[in-house]
Structures are given as structure tokens and as C-alpha cells.
């Protein structure tokens, strides 16, 4: 049997493809919203109170508010793939990064009239702070071989206190309008900035994956660490690198989040985002035990979660019941993404094809 250079495309492959799960989820949510009322999908171009033209509508809300999660999903996918575990400290490290950014911008006075430093400098400091946290987690996991969830528990517990300490437990507030651009709108650009930032991050990571071996090595180390060592890879370095990359993602999220309110609330900022990030990776059909991954599927998974939240707000689901509804939908989606279920569907579609052929 001669192997073909490229496999021809079959429907059964589509079902097995990881992208299918988030795509199906989006289809289901869309159909659901269409039934309830297609006005859900209206997009308007309006003027905000500063006179700038901005896009508005539920779809825009989804793209806007889902961006931080999508950016985080990038880093979390890599960490999960290489180390077979999850980083639960991302909420706390977002607090640290955000706090660091505000500290640089405010200096000693938490309510300055103008920013004390250029935003780019503050952002760089934020990146350094978040990368330091990533490196801390990375050393514990990669070198000391501590289980990721256990190792990241440290920052999960202590991180927000560290964030508060950076600013002396005070609440810094930035008055400059320029700072709010990152979490809001840049005058003249109607698309929400967080979404643009997410797009940039996605482009960057895809370029990195295309022009380096990051994807291949990460998967290799995640699937079989021993074999990877014998091919000359250094699993310690690779795992460490994934945590640092997650750190960069955290810093970007931190900037967006503090920019949204031009301030910070240490215990509330990015609360429970780590759970949503892990969920995004799982919804993307990636094995949480590591190995092969699809970055695009995770990113799409992140937007699915936001889509779900926005749909539930639209449905005016009573506040008490909201977590229950979300849980049910999530369970459904995660079960659908399980390999056994996908195999089942792909078998059925193949049978359908063969019977069709038989009939023809």
C-alpha cells in the first residue's frame, strides 16, 4: 500500500477534528439565540459620550469581553500540553501584573493627576513581573518536578496579597483618558481595543508556531518526555518556556483589565479566570493531561465561554440559577468533546456514507 502525500478530506475526519467541538458549540448557541430572537445579533455603530464612533451589540460584547480569556488560553494551552497540568495562579498573577503597571503609572501618589511614566514602560514592567511569576512556577514544575496544580497553588494563594502590597494596599486610580484606550476604545477606531489586542496576540503566536518548533517540541515533550530527551530535547527548558509565555499572556490581560476600570480591585480582578481558562482549553478538545494540542480550538473555546455568558445575561436567567445553567451547558460541551463521543459520531457518519454508497 503506497502512502499518499496528503490525506483526502472526509467528513468523518471533520468530526474527529478538535475544532469541531467549539464550532458545534457556537452553532448550537447561535441557533438557540436565533430562536429566542434574532435581534441578538444586531450590530450598531453609535457615538459614545466622548463623541467617538463605536461598534455596539451582543456580538461585539462577546468579542470584547472574551478577549482576555482568549489571550490566556494561548498560554494555558502550551502549559497544559507540555506539563500535563494546569496553572491556577493566572488570576492572581494578573492582579500582580496589573498592580505593577499601576504602580509605575502612579508612582507614590495613588491618585495622580497625570501618569508618572509612559504606558509602554509600565507595560514592560508588567511583563517582567508576570514573567517572573511564570518563571517561578516554571522552575517548580520543570526543574523540581512538582505537579503544576500544586506548584501554582502558591501564587494562587499569595498572589493577590502581593499585588496589594505592591501598591501599599491602596487603590490607585488613573485619570488620564489615554490609559483607558486599552480596555475600551481608541478614538477613531470603532472596534473595541481588547479584541484588537487579542487579534495581535493570536497572530503573534501563530507566527511563532510557524517559524519555530515551539508546537512540535511542546507536543513531543508532553506526549513522551523520555523519548524527547533521547532526541536531544530538553524538557526542562521547554516546560519552563511555556510558563514564561503564559506570563506574557498574563501581563497583556493585566493591562487590559486595569485599563477597563483605570483602577484595580485586588481580590475581584480576574476572579476565577483560571477555571475559565482551563475550561477553554478543555472545550477546545485538548487533553488536559498534555500532549497534542490545537491552539485555534482553545482560542475558539474561550469565545464560546463568553458567548455562553452573554447568552445567559440576555436570557435574564435569575442570578441564583446562573451558575447552574452554565454548569449544565459546560458539562454537555465537555462530554461532547470527549474522544469516545467523537469516535461514536465519526463512526455513524462513516456508516451513513457507506450505506449511501451501497444504495447508489
Amino acid at each position: 500500500m503506497s502512502p499518499k502525500a496528503k490525506k483526502s478530506f472526509q467528513i468523518s475526519d471533520l468530526f474527529r477534528s478538535q475544532m469541531m467541538i467549539p464550532v458545534i458549540a457556537i452553532l448550537l448557541l447561535t441557533i438557540f439565540n436565533l430562536i429566542i430572537g434574532p435581534s441578538f445579533f444586531n450590530i450598531r455603530l453609535e457615538e459614545n459620550n466622548l463623541g467617538n464612533a463605536v461598534l455596539s451589540g451582543n456580538l461585539i460584547t462577546i468579542l470584547d469581553n472574551g478577549s482576555e480569556l482568549a489571550i490566556l488560553a494561548i498560554g494555558m494551552t502550551l502549559v497544559t500540553a507540555a506539563s500535563g497540568g494546569q496553572d491556577i495562579s493566572v488570576g492572581a498573577t494578573i492582579a500582580i501584573a496589573g498592580s505593577a503597571i499601576l504602580k509605575i503609572l502612579c508612582g507614590d501618589n495613588p491618585h495622580p493627576e497625570t501618569m508618572q511614566a509612559p504606558i509602554i514602560l509600565a507595560f514592560l514592567v508588567g511583563i517582567l513581573a508576570a514573567m517572573a511569576c511564570g518563571a517561578f512556577n516554571g522552575i517548580l514544575v520543570a526543574y523540581f518536578k512538582i505537579q503544576p496544580m500544586v506548584a501554582t497553588l502558591i501564587l494562587f494563594t499569595a498572589g493577590r496579597s502581593i499585588a496589594a502590597w505592591i501598591n501599599n494596599n491602596e487603590l490607585p486610580i488613573i485619570k488620564d483618558i489615554e490609559f483607558s484606550y486599552f480596555g475600551g476604545f481608541i478614538p477613531g477606531i470603532a472596534v473595541p481595543t481588547p479584541f484588537l489586542i487579542a487579534v495581535v496576540c493570536v497572530i503573534v503566536i501563530f507566527l511563532v508556531m510557524k517559524f519555530t518548533n515551539l508546537g512540535l517540541y511542546t507536543q513531543s515533550v508532553g506526549i513522551n518526555e523520555n523519548a524527547s530527551k533521547l532526541i536531544g530535547l530538553n524538557p526542562v527548558t521547554i516546560k519552563f518556556m511555556t510558563f514564561v509565555i503564559l506570563g506574557v499572556c498574563v501581563a497583556v490581560c493585566g493591562l487590559i483589565k486595569v485599563s477597563r476600570i483605570s483602577s484595580i480591585n485586588y481580590s475581584v480582578i480576574a476572579k476565577d479566570i483560571e477555571m475559565d481558562a482551563i475550561l477553554a482549553v478543555a472545550l477546545g478538545g485538548n487533553a488536559l493531561s498534555g500532549g497534542k494540542f490545537s491552539m485555534a480550538a482553545s482560542i475558539l473555546g474561550a469565545y464560546v465561554i463568553q458567548y455562553l455568558t452573554t447568552t445567559l445575561y440576555r436570557m435574564k436567567v435569575p442570578a441564583d440559577a446562573l451558575p447552574a445553567y452554565k454548569a449544565v451547558v459546560v458539562i454537555l460541551l465537555v462530554v461532547l468533546s470527549a474522544p469516545t463521543v467523537r469516535e461514536f459520531f465519526s463512526k455513524r457518519s462513516k456508516k451513513l456514507k457507506t450505506t449511501r454508497r451501497g444504495v447508489a
Binding site: S39, F40, N42, E46, E47, N48, N49, L50, V54, S56, G57, N58, T61, N65, H111, R160, A164, N169, E170, L171, I173, G184, F185, K257, R260, I261, N265, Y266, S267, V268, K271, T309, T310, Y313, R314, K316, P318, A319, D320, L322
Partner: protein
């Protein structure tokens, strides 16, 4: 021989126990265990925590230990620990109103006096010696009284709630639910933003996108009001004094009161964080063997109206 050794050991132990008791009495420091919510939860909490820290220190005659958590089970565990540490007084601001009976009973059995502050709990009154609380329900009714005094033809309210089940949420929401029974009052949506500005923004945005009309935003704390206002600004909907939408918040953060002063918001309800002096007074009375006058002290709290607030108010009451 053995008996002698045993006797020596026993007497040494007894001496040790007595001496520690004497040391304690000589020490004179009153041991207090303070369980509070996360100080970073809001401006209110930060001020509350700072107030307590300032009051309960060695100079004032206290040996204080603090435990923080937003989680019910963690707070209960901290309480158990303090009881084991044999504190004299247990000061408690509960994150959740339920689940405290067992622990408070243990405290009473161990001879630890429990003083509640900031929030009440669902437990029989005889399980604590005093409580200095904000009457959240009254905060709510004060706010609603002000709202109904605005004399609008109809009230279409976006009700943004705090963490479900927390005392603050329960009190402040109750007033709204009662108000909603009136004919010209309609709740457009009632959702929890869990004290989070971002979530509040999304909730209001959802209503704006659905096209439903509203003229009141009742946000159960300042952060959430801020998020709500961000959504209004994005849609260029006017708010505040002379605006189309009435904005209401709680906690009286300084920056929030400044929004009132600037006319961007309409109302802010005070939640007084300064309970430490009340508690100190009560402890001193108990130590001196006196009777406490009132078991439940409800702090004076008022609401601020944007049209009448002054800079002085901002300086005095802003936290």
C-alpha cells in the same frame, strides 16, 4: 523512688500552669481573634480593616490576631482555631449569614465572648454578647425611600446585585424587591455582578443591546456602579443629575462621592466601616464587669444625594 519522681513532675506542671496564668494576668493584654472579609474586597473593607488594626494594638492593651477570608468555611475554620488559641474575645464579620451556630456554641462553651461587627448572622441572639452592625436592610430602604422621593412617573430599574447570599446583598436587594411590588415600578433585569465592575458593565450592556428602556441603575456597591456607568457612557446615554438615567451606588468611596459631586451619579448609600471604637467601648465595659446598654448597636448610616452633597461631606465621609 518512682512516686517521688511522679510527684515532682506533677508539682512542676502545676507550677507552670499557675505561672502562665499569673503571667497572663500580669500581661494585661486582652487577647482578641478578629475574623474579617478580605481587606481588598472593596474600599469599605480596606477602611474597616485599617480601623480595626489601628484600634486593636498593643498600645491600646490588645493582643490581636487577624484572619481574612471571603469564604464561609474558611472563616469557620479560623474561628475554631481562635477558640483553641483561647482568645478572650472573638470579633466576627461573617461573609455568609448561615452556618455559625455550631461554632458560636463552641465559643460560648469555651468561655469566649463573641462580638459581631459590620454584619449580622442567622443565629440566636444569646450566642453573642454584642453586635455592631450596619443594618443593611435599612441601607436599602433609605436608598429606596430616596428613589421614590424622586417622583418619577415610572421606575424601570436595572438591579445589579452583589455576591448572592452575602448580608450586604440580601439587605440591599430586599428593599428593591419590596419597591417592585408597586404598580409603576418595573425591574428590567436583576443580575449579580459579584461586586465586579466588568460584570456590571456586561449586564448593563446586555440590556442596552436588547433595546429595553430603563431609567434607574441600582448597583449594590460603588465598583459595580462604575461598571454600569461605563456601559452608559459607551452608548452615550446620559446619567446623573439632569441625565436620563439615575445612578445609585453604595459604600461611599471617596472617588464615588466625587462622582456625586460632579453630578455624574445621583445617590450613594453609606456603609459605615468604623466600628472599632464601638467594639472597644463594649470590651472595656465587659472587662470592668459592667452591663452593656444595648446588645445590638446599629450604626448611623445615611445616603448622599448628588444635588445636596458638599466637598466637606466628601472629605469627612469618603473612604
Amino acid at each position: 523512688m518512682k512516686k517521688r519522681v511522679l510527684a515532682t513532675i506533677i508539682s512542676a506542671a502545676a507550677l507552670a500552669i499557675c505561672s502562665t496564668a499569673m503571667v497572663n494576668a500580669e500581661d494585661g493584654l486582652i487577647k482578641v481573634g478578629i475574623i474579617n472579609n478580605d481587606p481588598n474586597e472593596s474600599g469599605y473593607r480596606t477602611a474597616n480593616d485599617a480601623d480595626l488594626q489601628k484600634m486593636f494594638c498593643e498600645e491600646n492593651g490588645y493582643e490581636a490576631e487577624f484572619a481574612y477570608s471571603l469564604k464561609n468555611d474558611e472563616q469557620i475554620a479560623a474561628a475554631q482555631k481562635f477558640i483553641q488559641d483561647e482568645v478572650d474575645y472573638l470579633l466576627l464579620s461573617a461573609a455568609d449569614t448561615a452556618g455559625w451556630e455550631g461554632v458560636l456554641q463552641d465559643a460560648q462553651d469555651a468561655g469566649v465572648s463573641v462580638i459581631l461587627f459590620d454584619r449580622t448572622i442567622d443565629a440566636p441572639e444569646d450566642l453573642y454578647v454584642a453586635s455592631i452592625v450596619s443594618d443593611m436592610a435599612r441601607e436599602g430602604t433609605t436608598a429606596i425611600d430616596w428613589l421614590s422621593s424622586q417622583g418619577l412617573d415610572e421606575y424601570n430599574i436595572i438591579h445589579i446585585q452583589g455576591v448572592m447570599g452575602s448580608a450586604a446583598q440580601q439587605g440591599r436587594s430586599a428593599a428593591v424587591d419590596t419597591f417592585a411590588e408597586e404598580d409603576n415600578v418595573n425591574i428590567v433585569t436583576q443580575q449579580t455582578a459579584e461586586w465586579n465592575a466588568e460584570k456590571a458593565q456586561q449586564i448593563v450592556q446586555s440590556v442596552i443591546d436588547s433595546g429595553e428602556s430603563f431609567n434607574v441603575i441600582y448597583a449594590e456597591n460603588d465598583d459595580m456602579a462604575k461598571g454600569a456607568v461605563a456601559a452608559l457612557d459607551k452608548a452615550n446615554i446620559s446619567h446623573g443629575v439632569d441625565g436620563d438615567v439615575i445612578v445609585m451606588g453604595f459604600d461611599c468611596n471617596k472617588w464615588a462621592l466625587e462622582e456625586l459631586l460632579a453630578g455624574n451619579w445621583n445617590y450613594d448609600g453609606q456603609c459605615n466601616p468604623f466600628q472599632a471604637s464601638y467594639i472597644d467601648e463594649i470590651i472595656k465595659k465587659l472587662e470592668a464587669g459592667e452591663e452593656i446598654g444595648e446588645k445590638v448597636v446599629i450604626m448611623e448610616e445615611k445616603g448622599f444625594d448628588a444635588s445636596t452633597i458638599t466637598q466637606e461631606d466628601v472629605d469627612n465621609y469618603g473612604i
